[in-house]
Protein backbone atom coordinates (compact mmCIF):
# COMPACT_ATOMS: atom_id res chain seq x y z
CA UNK A 1 0.00 0.00 0.00
CA UNK A 2 1.47 3.40 -0.96
CA UNK A 3 1.86 6.50 1.23
CA UNK A 4 -1.28 8.42 0.16
CA UNK A 5 -3.39 5.29 0.78
CA UNK A 6 -1.91 4.94 4.26
CA UNK A 7 -2.56 8.60 4.96
CA UNK A 8 -6.14 8.32 3.77
CA UNK A 9 -6.64 5.22 5.92
CA UNK A 10 -5.26 7.07 8.96
CA UNK A 11 -7.51 10.09 8.25
CA UNK A 12 -10.56 7.81 8.10
CA UNK A 13 -9.52 6.05 11.30
CA UNK A 14 -9.04 9.38 13.11
CA UNK A 15 -12.42 10.65 11.86
CA UNK A 16 -14.20 7.45 12.92
CA UNK A 17 -12.52 7.57 16.35
CA UNK A 18 -13.49 11.22 16.83
CA UNK A 19 -17.11 10.53 15.93
CA UNK A 20 -17.10 7.59 18.37
CA UNK A 21 -15.72 9.90 21.09
CA UNK A 22 -18.19 12.72 20.61
CA UNK A 23 -21.23 10.51 20.07
CA UNK A 24 -20.38 8.31 23.10
CA UNK A 25 -19.69 5.16 21.14
CA UNK A 26 -16.89 2.66 21.80
CA UNK A 27 -13.82 4.68 20.85
CA UNK A 28 -11.44 2.55 22.94
CA UNK A 29 -11.84 -0.43 20.62
CA UNK A 30 -10.45 1.64 17.73
CA UNK A 31 -7.59 3.01 19.83
CA UNK A 32 -6.52 -0.32 21.31
CA UNK A 33 -6.39 -1.92 17.87
CA UNK A 34 -4.00 0.76 16.57
CA UNK A 35 -0.24 0.98 16.89
CA UNK A 36 2.63 3.42 16.32
CA UNK A 37 1.70 6.88 15.09
CA UNK A 38 -2.01 6.00 14.79
CA UNK A 39 -2.10 4.99 18.45
CA UNK A 40 -0.28 8.16 19.50
CA UNK A 41 -2.74 10.41 17.63
CA UNK A 42 -5.78 8.52 18.88
CA UNK A 43 -4.49 8.89 22.45
CA UNK A 44 -4.04 12.63 21.89
CA UNK A 45 -7.62 12.85 20.56
CA UNK A 46 -8.87 11.04 23.68
CA UNK A 47 -7.04 13.57 25.87
CA UNK A 48 -8.54 16.44 23.87
CA UNK A 49 -11.98 14.94 24.38
CA UNK A 50 -11.40 14.95 28.17
CA UNK A 51 -9.99 18.49 28.24
CA UNK A 52 -12.37 20.31 25.89
CA UNK A 53 -15.72 20.04 27.65
CA UNK A 54 -18.74 22.15 26.67
CA UNK A 55 -19.27 25.20 28.90
CA UNK A 56 -22.74 26.58 29.68
CA UNK A 57 -23.69 30.23 30.09
CA UNK A 58 -25.46 31.21 33.31
CA UNK A 59 -29.24 30.75 33.39
CA UNK A 60 -29.61 34.42 34.33
CA UNK A 61 -27.69 35.51 31.20
CA UNK A 62 -29.68 33.20 28.93
CA UNK A 63 -33.01 34.40 30.30
CA UNK A 64 -32.04 38.07 30.11
CA UNK A 65 -30.81 37.76 26.53
CA UNK A 66 -33.87 35.80 25.44
CA UNK A 67 -36.12 38.51 26.84
CA UNK A 68 -34.43 40.99 24.49
CA UNK A 69 -35.61 38.97 21.48
CA UNK A 70 -38.97 37.56 22.51
CA UNK A 71 -42.12 39.45 23.51
CA UNK A 72 -43.25 38.55 27.01
CA UNK A 73 -46.39 36.40 27.15
CA UNK A 74 -47.60 34.01 29.87
CA UNK A 75 -46.05 31.15 27.89
CA UNK A 76 -42.62 32.77 27.80
CA UNK A 77 -42.89 33.71 31.49
CA UNK A 78 -43.25 30.00 32.24
CA UNK A 79 -40.16 29.36 30.12
CA UNK A 80 -38.23 31.98 32.11
CA UNK A 81 -39.44 30.35 35.32
CA UNK A 82 -38.07 26.99 34.18
CA UNK A 83 -34.64 28.49 33.41
CA UNK A 84 -34.37 30.18 36.84
CA UNK A 85 -31.75 28.66 39.18
CA UNK A 86 -33.30 26.31 41.81
CA UNK A 87 -32.60 28.69 44.71
CA UNK A 88 -34.56 31.49 43.00
CA UNK A 89 -37.39 29.09 42.25
CA UNK A 90 -37.46 28.08 45.94
CA UNK A 91 -37.40 31.72 47.08
CA UNK A 92 -40.24 32.55 44.68
CA UNK A 93 -42.25 29.54 45.91
CA UNK A 94 -41.75 30.52 49.59
CA UNK A 95 -42.66 34.16 48.79
CA UNK A 96 -45.71 33.11 46.82
CA UNK A 97 -46.86 30.73 49.56
CA UNK A 98 -46.40 33.38 52.31
CA UNK A 99 -48.31 35.98 50.32
CA UNK A 100 -51.15 33.55 49.56
CA UNK A 101 -51.32 32.40 53.19
CA UNK A 102 -51.38 36.03 54.45
CA UNK A 103 -54.16 37.01 52.06
CA UNK A 104 -56.13 33.89 53.02
CA UNK A 105 -55.85 34.70 56.77
CA UNK A 106 -57.02 38.28 56.12
CA UNK A 107 -59.95 37.06 54.00
CA UNK A 108 -60.97 34.44 56.61
CA UNK A 109 -60.81 37.02 59.45
CA UNK A 110 -62.89 39.43 57.44
CA UNK A 111 -65.44 36.70 56.66
CA UNK A 112 -65.60 35.69 60.34
CA UNK A 113 -66.12 39.33 61.35
CA UNK A 114 -68.94 39.71 58.86
CA UNK A 115 -70.54 36.44 59.99
CA UNK A 116 -70.32 37.34 63.68
CA UNK A 117 -71.83 40.76 62.87
CA UNK A 118 -74.74 39.08 61.07
CA UNK A 119 -75.20 36.65 63.95
CA UNK A 120 -75.22 39.52 66.50
CA UNK A 121 -77.78 41.36 64.43
CA UNK A 122 -79.97 38.24 64.17
CA UNK A 123 -79.82 37.80 67.99
CA UNK A 124 -80.63 41.45 68.70
CA UNK A 125 -83.69 41.44 66.39
CA UNK A 126 -85.84 39.07 68.63
CA UNK A 127 -84.80 41.11 71.71
CA UNK A 128 -85.96 44.26 70.00
CA UNK A 129 -89.30 42.54 69.19
CA UNK A 130 -89.74 41.58 72.84
CA UNK A 131 -89.15 45.14 74.00
CA UNK A 132 -91.79 46.40 71.54
CA UNK A 133 -94.35 43.93 72.89
CA UNK A 134 -93.80 45.03 76.47
Amino acid sequence: MNAPDNELRLQNLLAAHLDALIFDEDADALRLGASGESHELLLLATQLHSALKPVEPSAEFMTRLRAEFVEETPGTLMLRWRTLPPRYQLAAKVGGFTLTAGLTVLAVRRALNVMSGVRARQQSEPDAALSTVS
Binding site: L41, A51, E68, G75, L79
Partner: protein
Protein backbone atom coordinates in the same frame (compact mmCIF):
# COMPACT_ATOMS: atom_id res chain seq x y z
CA UNK B 1 -47.40 33.89 18.59
CA UNK B 2 -47.58 30.07 18.46
CA UNK B 3 -47.07 27.63 21.31
CA UNK B 4 -43.54 26.51 22.21
CA UNK B 5 -44.43 22.91 21.26
CA UNK B 6 -45.31 24.02 17.77
CA UNK B 7 -41.97 25.79 17.32
CA UNK B 8 -40.11 22.72 18.54
CA UNK B 9 -41.63 20.68 15.70
CA UNK B 10 -40.33 23.03 12.99
CA UNK B 11 -36.92 22.69 11.39
CA UNK B 12 -34.45 25.58 11.23
CA UNK B 13 -35.41 26.66 7.70
CA UNK B 14 -39.11 26.95 8.60
CA UNK B 15 -38.27 28.82 11.81
CA UNK B 16 -36.04 31.27 9.93
CA UNK B 17 -38.91 32.16 7.57
CA UNK B 18 -41.32 32.54 10.50
CA UNK B 19 -38.80 34.48 12.61
CA UNK B 20 -39.00 37.40 10.15
CA UNK B 21 -42.29 38.47 11.76
CA UNK B 22 -42.62 36.26 14.81
CA UNK B 23 -40.26 36.79 17.74
CA UNK B 24 -41.26 33.43 19.25
CA UNK B 25 -39.75 31.61 16.26
CA UNK B 26 -36.49 33.49 16.74
CA UNK B 27 -36.67 32.57 20.44
CA UNK B 28 -36.75 28.89 19.46
CA UNK B 29 -33.68 29.30 17.22
CA UNK B 30 -31.97 31.09 20.09
CA UNK B 31 -32.78 28.22 22.48
CA UNK B 32 -31.39 25.68 20.01
CA UNK B 33 -28.02 27.34 19.53
CA UNK B 34 -27.19 29.70 22.40
CA UNK B 35 -25.27 27.12 24.47
CA UNK B 36 -23.19 25.89 21.54
CA UNK B 37 -22.36 29.38 20.34
CA UNK B 38 -21.46 30.45 23.88
CA UNK B 39 -19.23 27.38 24.40
CA UNK B 40 -17.42 28.03 21.12
CA UNK B 41 -16.85 31.72 21.95
CA UNK B 42 -15.84 30.93 25.54
CA UNK B 43 -12.97 28.73 24.39
CA UNK B 44 -11.92 31.27 21.76
CA UNK B 45 -11.90 34.24 24.16
CA UNK B 46 -10.91 32.52 27.41
CA UNK B 47 -13.34 34.29 29.72
CA UNK B 48 -17.05 34.29 30.53
CA UNK B 49 -17.54 38.06 30.40
CA UNK B 50 -16.43 38.46 26.78
CA UNK B 51 -18.13 35.20 25.86
CA UNK B 52 -21.47 36.60 27.10
CA UNK B 53 -20.93 39.91 25.34
CA UNK B 54 -20.03 38.32 22.01
CA UNK B 55 -22.80 35.70 22.25
CA UNK B 56 -25.33 38.51 22.71
CA UNK B 57 -23.86 40.31 19.68
CA UNK B 58 -24.09 37.15 17.53
CA UNK B 59 -27.83 36.82 18.16
CA UNK B 60 -28.49 40.55 17.81
CA UNK B 61 -26.70 40.52 14.46
CA UNK B 62 -28.58 37.39 13.38
CA UNK B 63 -31.91 39.04 14.25
CA UNK B 64 -31.05 42.20 12.33
CA UNK B 65 -29.96 40.26 9.22
CA UNK B 66 -32.46 37.39 9.30
CA UNK B 67 -34.60 39.25 6.73
CA UNK B 68 -31.82 39.00 4.17
CA UNK B 69 -30.56 35.52 5.10
CA UNK B 70 -31.16 32.95 2.38
CA UNK B 71 -30.07 29.36 2.86
CA UNK B 72 -28.18 28.75 -0.45
CA UNK B 73 -26.35 25.70 0.88
CA UNK B 74 -25.35 27.31 4.19
CA UNK B 75 -27.58 26.09 7.02
CA UNK B 76 -28.72 28.59 9.65
CA UNK B 77 -26.43 27.04 12.29
CA UNK B 78 -23.39 27.44 10.01
CA UNK B 79 -24.42 31.05 9.37
CA UNK B 80 -24.55 31.71 13.13
CA UNK B 81 -21.10 30.15 13.63
CA UNK B 82 -19.72 32.31 10.83
CA UNK B 83 -21.06 35.42 12.57
CA UNK B 84 -19.48 34.18 15.81
CA UNK B 85 -16.19 33.46 14.05
CA UNK B 86 -16.05 36.97 12.53
CA UNK B 87 -16.88 38.66 15.83
CA UNK B 88 -14.22 36.62 17.66
CA UNK B 89 -11.66 37.48 14.96
CA UNK B 90 -12.48 41.21 15.40
CA UNK B 91 -12.26 40.80 19.17
CA UNK B 92 -8.77 39.26 18.86
CA UNK B 93 -7.69 42.06 16.51
CA UNK B 94 -8.93 44.76 18.92
CA UNK B 95 -7.28 43.01 21.86
CA UNK B 96 -3.93 42.85 20.05
CA UNK B 97 -4.22 46.53 19.21
CA UNK B 98 -5.00 47.41 22.84
CA UNK B 99 -2.22 45.10 24.10
CA UNK B 100 -4.41 43.43 26.70
CA UNK B 101 -2.77 40.68 28.74
CA UNK B 102 -3.71 37.23 27.36
CA UNK B 103 -6.64 35.70 29.18
CA UNK B 104 -6.14 32.15 27.98
CA UNK B 105 -5.35 30.87 31.44
CA UNK B 106 -8.90 31.83 32.45
CA UNK B 107 -10.07 28.79 30.51
CA UNK B 108 -7.77 26.55 32.53
CA UNK B 109 -8.91 28.27 35.74
CA UNK B 110 -12.50 27.69 34.69
CA UNK B 111 -11.79 24.03 34.09
CA UNK B 112 -10.21 23.75 37.52
CA UNK B 113 -13.39 24.91 39.17
CA UNK B 114 -15.73 23.06 36.83
CA UNK B 115 -14.07 19.66 37.24
CA UNK B 116 -12.98 19.38 40.88
CA UNK B 117 -12.94 15.61 40.76
CA UNK B 118 -10.15 15.52 38.20
CA UNK B 119 -6.74 14.65 39.64
CA UNK B 120 -4.25 17.51 39.87
CA UNK B 121 -1.79 15.74 37.59
CA UNK B 122 -4.35 15.22 34.86
CA UNK B 123 -5.44 18.82 35.37
CA UNK B 124 -1.92 20.02 34.61
CA UNK B 125 -1.89 17.86 31.50
CA UNK B 126 -5.22 19.31 30.40
CA UNK B 127 -3.95 22.83 30.96
CA UNK B 128 -0.82 22.12 28.90
CA UNK B 129 -3.05 20.67 26.19
CA UNK B 130 -5.38 23.67 26.14
CA UNK B 131 -2.40 26.03 26.00
CA UNK B 132 -1.07 24.04 23.05
CA UNK B 133 -4.48 24.25 21.35
CA UNK B 134 -4.34 28.04 21.75
CA UNK B 135 -0.94 28.15 20.05
CA UNK B 136 -2.40 26.51 16.93
CA UNK B 137 -3.38 28.62 13.90
CA UNK B 138 -6.91 30.01 14.11
CA UNK B 139 -8.60 27.59 11.67
CA UNK B 140 -7.16 24.57 13.50
CA UNK B 141 -8.43 25.88 16.85
CA UNK B 142 -11.79 26.45 15.23
CA UNK B 143 -11.90 22.88 13.93
CA UNK B 144 -11.03 21.34 17.32
CA UNK B 145 -13.63 23.44 19.15
CA UNK B 146 -16.39 22.73 16.64
CA UNK B 147 -15.66 19.00 16.85
CA UNK B 148 -14.82 18.44 20.53
CA UNK B 149 -16.79 21.17 22.29
CA UNK B 150 -19.81 21.60 20.03
CA UNK B 151 -19.81 17.97 18.79
CA UNK B 152 -20.66 18.81 15.17
CA UNK B 153 -20.46 16.36 12.29
CA UNK B 154 -17.82 16.77 9.57
CA UNK B 155 -20.54 17.93 7.17
CA UNK B 156 -21.62 20.68 9.61
CA UNK B 157 -18.01 21.75 10.26
CA UNK B 158 -17.44 21.75 6.50
CA UNK B 159 -20.43 24.07 6.00
CA UNK B 160 -19.10 26.49 8.63
CA UNK B 161 -15.50 26.46 7.38
CA UNK B 162 -16.48 26.31 3.71
CA UNK B 163 -14.59 23.05 3.05
CA UNK B 164 -15.44 19.54 1.91
CA UNK B 165 -15.74 16.69 4.41
CA UNK B 166 -12.54 15.20 3.01
CA UNK B 167 -10.71 18.47 3.60
CA UNK B 168 -11.99 18.52 7.20
CA UNK B 169 -10.65 15.00 7.81
CA UNK B 170 -7.29 15.98 6.35
CA UNK B 171 -7.16 19.19 8.40
CA UNK B 172 -7.97 17.22 11.55
CA UNK B 173 -5.11 14.81 10.84
CA UNK B 174 -2.65 17.67 10.28
CA UNK B 175 -3.91 19.45 13.40
CA UNK B 176 -3.27 16.40 15.59
CA UNK B 177 0.23 16.02 14.11
CA UNK B 178 1.01 19.70 14.78
CA UNK B 179 -0.36 19.45 18.31
CA UNK B 180 1.69 16.32 19.05
CA UNK B 181 4.87 17.96 17.68
CA UNK B 182 4.25 21.11 19.74
CA UNK B 183 3.75 19.10 22.94
CA UNK B 184 6.83 16.95 22.26
CA UNK B 185 8.97 20.03 21.58
CA UNK B 186 7.76 21.71 24.79
CA UNK B 187 8.46 18.57 26.82
CA UNK B 188 11.97 18.32 25.37
CA UNK B 189 12.74 22.02 25.92
CA UNK B 190 13.80 21.89 29.65
CA UNK B 191 16.10 18.91 28.98
CA UNK B 192 17.67 20.72 25.99
CA UNK B 193 18.22 23.88 28.06
CA UNK B 194 19.83 21.87 30.90
CA UNK B 195 22.17 20.18 28.42
CA UNK B 196 23.19 23.56 26.92
CA UNK B 197 23.85 24.95 30.41
CA UNK B 198 25.96 21.88 31.31
CA UNK B 199 28.02 22.30 28.15
CA UNK B 200 28.46 26.04 28.80
CA UNK B 201 29.51 25.27 32.40
CA UNK B 202 32.15 22.80 31.20
CA UNK B 203 33.41 25.37 28.66
CA UNK B 204 33.79 28.05 31.33
CA UNK B 205 35.52 25.63 33.79
Amino acid sequence: MMSNNHYAELDDSALVVQARDDSGAFGELYERYVKKIYSYIYYRTGNAHDAEDLTARVFHRALVHIETYTERGIPFSAWLYRIAHNLVANWHRDRTRRKVIPLDEFVAAGLRTEAPDVMAESQEEYERLIEAVHRLPEERQQLLLLKFVDKLSNAEVGAIMDRSEGAIKSLYHRTLLALRDDLTARQAEPARRASVQRRQGRGIG
